[in-house]
């Protein structure tokens, strides 16, 4: 069953202004982990937000979880994680994770149980009473992930969630994210700048190029599951990284050719 179906999606900003994305066709199945990768300005974040009905497409159709994107948002079919953890300073960790549950009208008992479950999932069990400013960047992102998953959405949208963290924390959180993905059984759409991260995490990598933003290639990643630290050292891993890199370069060349043609 497809969780996300995009048909002919385009988006222009302003009257006759920049084309962020054009002619996007993409299908994402249940339990997939799909990464969107490309240079700045290729529209990957815009595309993510179109899926989440945070931006309206100029044309095309977006079907999320069998409904329109708007219905999916209103019925809370997805959770979103940004590069900035966007935690509320005036709420401690427990209350931050509980936020969407409060909005959904869950009872206090149910909220408490679920929040505890989530904190165990992201391994922050002892930090319920802490405030965001007392946590490191990596821990704040884990709270953000816990919050996004708290109401058990079938879809998880992530916009460069580990972009602001150091390499080691990033690799560790990658492993944790895969574990969480497996345990929760959700579908993940993941925007990233890092080729290695995209290849390590995904079942498929969608390579995009800019001007206008479009999909140049979709590369299936058949590396064995579950992936571990060892996976990063496999020859097949390097081959796939190279393949993605080449697809990115191809996209950039097409870009340049188009720019020269139009002057």
């Amino acid at each position: 069953m497809s969780v996300v179906v995009l048909e002919g999606i385009s988006k222009q900003f302003g009257r006759g202004g920049t084309t962020a994305v054009q002619g996007i066709d993409l299908e994402i199945d249940e339990r997939e982990f799909v990464s969107l990768i490309g240079p700045s300005g290729c529209g990957k974040s815009t595309l993510l937000r179109i899926i989440g009905d945070l931006i309206e497409p100029s044309s095309g159709k977006a079907v999320v979880n069998g409904k329109t994107a708007r219905q999916a948002r209103v019925q809370r079919d997805y959770g979103i994680v940004f590069q900035d953890a966007v935690l509320y300073d005036w709420r401690n960790v427990t209350k931050n994770i509980a936020l969407p549950l409060e909005l959904a009208g869950w009872s206090r008992k149910r909220r408490q149980d679920r929040v505890r479950e989530m904190m165990e999932l992201v391994e922050l069990g002892d930090f319920g009473s802490h405030y965001p400013w007392q946590l490191s960047g990596g821990m704040q992102q884990r709270v953000s992930i816990a919050r996004a998953l708290s109401f058990d959405p079938p879809l998880l949208l992530m916009d460069e969630p580990f972009g602001a963290l150091d390499e080691m924390t990033r690799e560790r959180l990658n492993l944790e994210l895969l574990r969480i993905w497996e345990q929760s059984g959700s579908t993940i759409v993941f925007v990233t700048h890092s080729i290695a991260e995209a290849v390590f995490l995904s079942t498929r990598v969608v390579v995009m190029s800019s001007r206008p933003g479009r999909i140049t290639d979709v590369i299936p990643i058949e590396l064995p599951q579950p992936r571990t630290a060892v996976t990063r050292e496999q020859p097949r891993f390097f081959e796939l990284v190279t393949r993605v890199r080449e697809a990115l370069h191809l996209g950039a060349e097409l870009d340049r050719a188009a720019a020269e043609a139009t002057g």
């Binding site: 945070l54 948002r73 809370r76 979103i80 005036w90 909005l103 400013w133 007392q134």
Partner: protein
């Protein structure tokens, strides 16, 4: 695997958090106060400041003590006017800020007018307020104090309400949260620090507004008229005693708001002045 990195400990001691800073931090100010008082007391010996203009602290102190009930009563009366004006002006300011944040289009159009209105010397309006409400009534003083408080509170609260990060709003939209929910859970908590800063400023302005309004016609038992009448009979020590009472009430009001701020904003790592 998940040993935490860089976690700040929860601050110990509820009193410490309440006061906001340790008592030790107040010592330099106390030292300065003592030095100034002693210097003032002895200054007339060194400088040629006329005693009658700037009496010794001891003289002011004894004058205050002699007239303390009258002075405190007058101060209390003026203080009531200030609090009344503060409540009305700040309350209206907050309400208007909420409305302007909700209907941003109106706010953006009206902003230059609000800024211009803020530049108008309200003080010039005091005699008219007295004409409206009668010279001896409290209402005119409350009105002036209220107008003085309205703008700083409105502008700063509005600023706080609209300084929410766009990603925070996206997050709320992803939860399909309505405008009311967004206000309740995001905008208002974000605005609280801004609001309290403005309330502290307003507390001082309210007192000053009340006294200036009294100058144009107050009942004979409020502080402004009292001080004025002391001047007319050249009783400078009494006038100074009155001034210091006004000061004391103003400072007390300011500190009370500051205390309220610390109670409400408990979650902040450091409440900035």
């Amino acid at each position: 695997m998940s040993t935490p990195v860089a976690v700040q400990p929860l601050p110990r001691g509820r009193v410490a958090r309440l006061v906001g800073r340790r008592l030790r931090d107040w010592i330099p100010a106390l030292v300065v106060l003592v030095v100034v008082l002693v210097g003032w007391q002895e200054a007339y010996r060194v400088l040629a400041i006329k005693q009658f203009l700037l009496p010794k602290p001891s003289a002011i102190g004894s004058t205050f003590w002699d007239n303390r009930s009258e002075l405190l009563h007058a101060g209390w009366l003026t203080f009531q006017e200030a609090v009344g004006g503060f409540a009305i002006g700040s309350g209206l300011g907050i309400l208007v800020a909420l409305a302007l944040a909700r209907w941003r289009f109106v706010g953006r159009a009206m902003m230059p007018y609000a800024i211009a209105a803020n530049a108008v010397p309200i003080i010039a309006f005091a005699p008219i307020a007295n004409a409206w409400f009668g010279d001896f009534s409290k209402a005119s003083k409350i009105a002036i104090a209220a107008v003085l408080c309205f703008f700083p509170v409105m502008v700063n609260t509005l600023r706080g309400l609209t300084s929410v990060k766009p990603q925070s709003l996206e997050l709320m939209r992803s939860y399909a949260a309505g405008e009311v929910e967004i206000f309740r859970r995001v905008r208002i908590p974000t605005a609280l620090p801004f609001m309290f800063t403005a309330l502290k400023v307003a507390s001082v302005l309210a007192m000053i507004g009340a006294i200036v309004a009294e100058y144009f016609g107050g009942s004979f038992s409020d502080l402004g008229t009292l001080i004025r009448s002391q001047y007319q009979v050249f009783a400078y020590e009494d006038a100074w005693a009155g001034i210091l009472v006004a000061c004391a009430f103003g400072i007390a009001f300011y500190l009370a708001i500051g205390l309220l701020e610390r109670l409400v904003l408990r979650w902040q790592p450091s409440t900035s002045e």
